[in-house]
């Protein structure tokens, strides 16, 4: 095909090994391998099947928030109420259980509460599109946790360990593989498939790259945003379920700053907060990078405070590095001219 200037236009980029290997995901794979080598050197028990699964179980419950968070970032939106949603849904699960409702129904209640919270976020945001998502979810973040606080006060609601199969959601294993790990892999595959292989996923990218253009192309932007926010609420509640299963008891201060961890994971995975960018494999890799890094640093007794510094630095440097590389390349090109 020839363009206006008579130059050949090739719709599909020719395959080149250089661009293939200079992808962000390979960089993440490299970091991932480095961290695992480091961890294996730190503890002789680390590099075994059960050792690795112990490690994954230490952080995977948070990862359920990172999955829909990736969608939110693709849209160019933001949701900082997820930690509070996880908290209020876990609290409602415990309250329902202590009110004598059977556990299976409690989980349904928990998921419904999460979905409802997500729906409220989404409705406010789509009815008042002028509002920045950051500020709406800031309000609901305070509101949701406030409701949990108001109900529970400084007491806790627990006794969940009495139901064996419920604790097993977190602690149980099928063979050597933890149940939570299996659930996570299924969810991650589903999220990745929808984002990259379905029309819905392409819509998300379209909205994130240019909202107005997407609107004119006939995409129901607000409806899709609403769906994504509801989905985020639902999966925050899933985190709430696993958190309750892990601890057997809930309080109003659980899951604090989970939103920050989920955002870090998604951003590290290559999703820009400006929207329209990112590859789902990146998020999954980033989840394991952050998780294993924390676990490894915990193995050598690095204090939690130093860990904050390391994770913060990792986040900033990984986002800044490609930008600086581009700037250097740009200025070198200028010089050559």
């Amino acid at each position: 095909m020839a363009g206006k200037s008579g130059r050949e236009i090739i719709a599909e980029q020719p395959f080149s090994w250089k661009t293939f290997f200079f992808k962000w995901e390979w960089f993440l794979v490299l970091i991932f391998i480095l961290i695992n080598i480091m961890n294996a050197n730190l503890s002789p028990y680390y590099a075994s099947v059960s050792g690795l699964f112990t490690a994954t179980n230490s952080f995977l419950e948070k990862a359920f928030i990172a999955l829909p968070m990736a969608y939110i970032l693709v849209l160019g939106d933001m949701d900082i109420s997820v930690g509070s949603i996880a908290c209020i849904s876990a609290v409602s699960l415990a309250l329902a259980y202590n009110a004598g409702i059977p556990m299976a129904a409690c989980i349904v209640v928990c998921l419904l509460v999460g979905t409802l919270c997500g729906l409220i976020n989404g409705l406010i945001m789509t009815k008042f599109t002028e509002l920045a998502p950051m500020i709406v979810t800031l309000g609901t973040q305070i509101l949701y946790r406030g409701i949990a606080e108001g109900i529970l006060g400084d007491t806790s609601s627990g006794g969940l360990t009495a139901v064996k199969w419920f604790s097993n959601l977190y602690w149980g294993k099928i063979g050597v593989v933890p149940i939570m790990f299996i659930v996570f892999i299924i969810c991650a595959c589903a999220f990745g498939f929808v984002l990259h292989k379905t029309v819905f996923g392409r819509w998300l990218y379209a909205i994130g790259s240019n909202k107005t253009a997407a609107e004119y192309a006939g995409i129901e932007v607000q409806k899709i945003r609403l769906i994504v926010f509801v989905l985020t609420g639902l999966f925050s509640a899933v985190t709430g379920v696993f958190l309750a299963a892990r601890m057997g008891s809930t309080k109003s201060d659980i899951a604090t700053s989970y939103e920050m961890e989920a955002i870090s994971m998604a951003v590290l995975g290559g999703f820009s907060t400006n929207g329209g960018k990112g590859n789902f494999i990146g998020v999954v890799l980033a989840i394991f990078i952050v998780g294993f890094l924390r676990y490894g640093l915990g193995l050598i007794n690095v204090p939690a405070q130093a860990m904050l510094v390391i994770i913060g630095l990792l986040l900033i440097i990984t986002v800044m590095a490609p930008n600086i590389k581009n700037q250097i390349q740009y200025s070198m090109k200028k010089k050559n001219k």
Binding site: L131, L138, G139, I142, L143, Q305, L308, V319, M320, Q327
Partner: protein, 333 residues
């Protein structure tokens, strides 16, 4: 005719609606508890919320440029802790020295954030999210995870928050600092070139760049300013609570952002005024102070705060829409 038009403009302005909200709040609380509108209560309230109100000014500048800074709680903790540690080890440091150390440290931390955002092209929310963790971690590390307890803070420094010498016995020092900050910012943002540049960058960064404003240096400037005010907040915090802890001011950033938003500052940049922020801060302070006075359980306070933030921002949108509609109507006529 002319006068009538002005009156209409006045009543429909955002600040006026905030004043009305403020008056309604005060009257309601006063009816429930008559100890509210007394000099002592108001003074205690302003003292406790001084840090939040002062930092709201810096946050407004950051929001005006279209950025956001959620690292301010950590910046406050680090600079406050830094100056408290120095005062612990060198008790001879004068009060003003403690403040200066804290403010300079805060400004440096803020400048680092500004450089990363403007030169490294990292989105503000991501950069400050990272620095929130880094500075908080560093606060624990420099203090070795310990407190600086009340007996280690110099007497003169502790006395600052409780005495009245800045105005010669008229007003509490904390309140004097609030007033000074607001007056400076009001003048600077309204009548100086630097202030107008902040608005210009926020309204349209590209247009600002083309018209010869160095956008990067304006951004570094506002984040440094935010850091400076966080440092000031850190010193005031140590003085007020007579101790420095590693976890001080966690979550303060949300209160500060909320005060700005209630005061009508837009998160998209370019819109917001100093009087609006003052009223927003005052409303947040009154809510925080007055809920226990009218017998609301402390556990329900944050739920109510969240509701009020949502209510305020939605109200903002609705008034903006009606204002736009009215403007359109007037043009059609």
């Amino acid at each position: 005719m002319n006068k009538k038009f002005d009156l209409k403009k006045l009543t429909s302005s955002r600040e006026m609606s905030l004043v009305i909200v403020l008056i309604v709040l005060c009257v309601f609380i006063q009816l429930r508890n008559s100890t509210f509108l007394q000099f002592g209560t108001i003074e205690a309230m302003l003292k406790n919320y001084a840090v939040m109100m002062i930092m709201a000014l810096g946050m407004m500048c950051v929001l005006l440029t279209g950025g956001i800074d959620i690292a301010i709680g950590s910046t406050l903790a680090f600079s406050g802790m830094f100056s408290a540690l120095i005062m612990r080890d060198h008790p001879g440091v004068p009060v003003i020295g403690g403040f200066l150390i804290s403010m300079v440290v805060g400004m440096v931390l803020g400048a680092v954030i500004g450089v990363v955002i403007s030169k490294g092209k990292v989105p503000p929310i991501v950069a400050t999210l990272g620095f929130m963790n880094i500075y908080r971690g560093c606060t624990y590390l420099i203090a070795d995870s310990r407190w600086v307890a009340a007996y280690q803070v110099p007497e003169g420094f502790k006395a600052f928050a409780q005495s009245y010498y800045l105005t010669g016995g008229l007003l509490n020092n904390m309140i004097t600092v609030i007033i000074i900050c607001y007056v400076i910012f009001f003048i600077a943002l309204k009548w100086t070139t630097a202030g107008r540049r902040v608005y210009a960058v926020g309204s349209n960064a590209e247009a600002a760049e083309v018209s010869g404003i160095n956008v990067d240096s304006v951004k570094i400037g506002v984040y440094s300013l935010m850091g400076l005010l966080s440092g000031l907040g850190g010193a005031l915090w140590v003085s007020l609570y007579a101790s420095a802890q590693g976890d001080m001011a966690t979550g303060l950033e949300m209160d500060v952002i909320a005060a700005c938003v209630v005061g009508g500052v837009s998160l998209n940049g370019g819109r917001g005024t100093v009087p609006g922020v003052f009223l927003g801060g005052l409303i947040m302070a009154i809510i925080g102070k007055a809920l226990p006075l009218i017998g609301v359980s402390q556990f329900w306070q944050s739920a109510i705060k969240g509701l009020i933030i949502l209510f305020a921002v939605i109200l903002n949108v609705v008034t903006q829409r009606t204002m736009d509609k009215n403007a359109l109507k007037r043009r059609e006529m």
